[in-house]
């Protein structure tokens, strides 16, 4: 009889525990689901939302890839243009020097031609302009990159003509003696000048001038002003317009 009672009690307790567990689970799930209608309809709508978000994410990822590509291309093309500009700048510098309009410096010579005042002075400066021009031509044939006479930049437009007691160079009046500065390879320039029977030989020994040639590692030659206006000359393309 005792056993029976115990068995009954045990069965009752187990049943009660089971029942209790069911109730707890139910209440828990009710708390989680919170009175909402979690029908399959709602789940379906959530799934739909997820699908749409996935689609949006894929599109955005593609956009991001394409804009990254755009950035790469823009950076590359910018780099190319920058490199081209560096090359162009070098070219511009070269033309600046060639034009004669800009101050320049470099290794070269300073040549001073003066009347010796001696009895062997057979020529005066007034009738020696041809010789000075010859000197300049020789410097050019020896690779001169820039030349000035008494600080007047020598260009293809330069004239050297006697005017009363002075000389007109680039429209400015200068006086003798002539100081000619030249930038280029010192050895080649000097060699061309001192050639036997050459310009310096003629100036010294046949015309009676003194010629001093000084090597200078930093010859400075001024430009003749950067603008030049042409009144008659036109580039040929303009004719076609």
């Amino acid at each position: 009889m005792m056993n029976k009672k115990v068995i009954n009690a045990i069965i009752f307790c187990i049943s009660f525990a089971l029942f209790f567990t069911v109730i707890i689970q139910y209440i828990s799930s009710k708390n989680i689901l919170k009175d909402n209608d979690y029908s399959t309809q709602y789940l379906a709508s959530l799934r739909l939302q997820l699908d749409e978000l996935e689609k949006e994410r894929k599109e955005l990822t593609q956009s991001l890839t394409s804009i990254n590509q755009k950035l790469l291309e823009a950076t590359e093309s910018n780099k190319e243009i920058k490199e081209k500009n560096d090359v162009l700048q070098d070219e511009l510098n070269m033309y600046k020097i060639m034009s004669g309009g800009y101050d320049v410096k470099g290794e070269g010579l300073i040549i001073t031609v003066n009347e010796s005042g001696s009895l062997e002075q057979y020529y005066t400066f007034q009738n020696s302009t041809g010789m000075i021009l010859s000197l300049i031509s020789n410097l050019n044939s020896a690779g001169a990159e820039a030349i000035s006479i008494n600080d007047q930049r020598y260009t293809s437009y330069t004239e050297l003509v006697p005017v009363s007691n002075f000389f007109s160079i680039n429209g400015k009046h200068v006086a003798a003696p002539f100081v000619i500065k030249v930038i280029g390879d010192q050895r080649t320039l000097e060699s061309a000048l001192n050639f036997p029977g050459g310009v310096v030989d003629t100036l010294k020994n046949r015309m009676g001038f003194t010629v001093e040639i000084e090597k200078d590692a930093n010859v400075q030659i001024s430009g003749n002003g950067k603008t030049k206006t042409f009144k008659y000359l036109k580039p040929v393309e303009q004719l076609v317009d």
């Binding site: 689901l33 994410r57 955005l60 060639m98 031509s137 030349i147 050297l160 390879d185």
Partner: protein, 246 residues
């Protein structure tokens, strides 16, 4: 048979109680709407996973959007810099084009004159040296043309630039490293009325050698003179610009 009846009689009370309890339970469940759906358990798991997935996607989307904005800003900045660089390119190219004209690297045209200078072939009394055209003569005539405002000069097609040499090389003259021979055709662009004085003016060098040495010089005014540019310039390896510090 009686054994069964006895059993039923014994337990009927308990059965009834259990039945009543069962019915009560069902009534309670129905009254309080406590529909216990097994599916709810799976729903929670599904919901949980769905909510997680949605959250993840939203985070990725937000991140993507931010990155796209950042990237777009960078692209705009880069393009702005690129446009500046392109303007700089154009500015430099324009400067180069202007300097090329001054340097004598472009083909040019305009009013001017043409000179023809040739050796004196007729006079037998003069020495050979006196009859021929020397580099000095060409240089001095070019000098006179410059003095009269020549804006471009070419000798036998060779453009005169800053680095041009005019040097005798035996029977020929070397100009820009190339040889030219008599007769020398000098083209010059400028005011034809002024330029012609290089030959007609009594103080000009050409007049002097024509008169005293019989050098054959003829000149002609032209409405259009075309002078080609010098193709390549001398390589600059010693000179450099002194940058303005202004």
């Amino acid at each position: 048979m009686s054994g069964c009846v006895i059993m039923v009689k014994k337990y009927v009370g308990r059965y009834l109680i259990m039945l009543i309890i069962g019915i009560l339970l069902i009534m309670v469940i129905k009254v309080f709407g406590m529909d216990y759906d097994l599916n709810n358990l799976f729903t929670i798991r599904t919901l949980d996973s769905l909510y997680n997935s949605i959250q993840k996607e939203q985070t990725i989307i937000e991140d993507c959007k931010n990155k796209i904005i950042e990237c777009e800003e960078l692209v705009n900045k880069t393009n702005a810099i690129k446009n500046n660089n392109i303007s700089e390119s154009n500015r430099i190219i324009q400067q180069i084009d202007e300097l090329k004209i001054i340097c004598g690297n472009t083909d040019v045209s305009g009013q001017g004159i043409t000179l023809r200078i040739a050796d004196n072939v007729t006079d037998e009394t003069l020495s050979y040296n006196d009859k021929i055209v020397h580099d000095l003569d060409v240089r001095l005539i070019v000098n006179d043309l410059n003095n009269l405002g020549a804006e471009a000069i070419a000798i036998n097609g060779k453009r005169i630039v800053n680095t041009t040499e005019i040097i005798c090389s035996g029977p020929v003259i070397s100009i820009n490293g190339e040889v030219v021979a008599a007769p020398f055709f000098i083209k010059a662009i400028g005011d034809p009325e002024k330029l012609i004085e290089a030959v007609t003016s009594e103080s000009s060098y050409a007049y002097f050698i024509k008169k005293d040495y019989g050098i054959d010089i003829t000149a002609m005014k032209n409405y259009i003179v075309v002078i080609s540019g010098k193709a390549k310039n001398r390589k600059i390896s010693h000179a450099m610009c002194i940058d303005e510090e202004n």
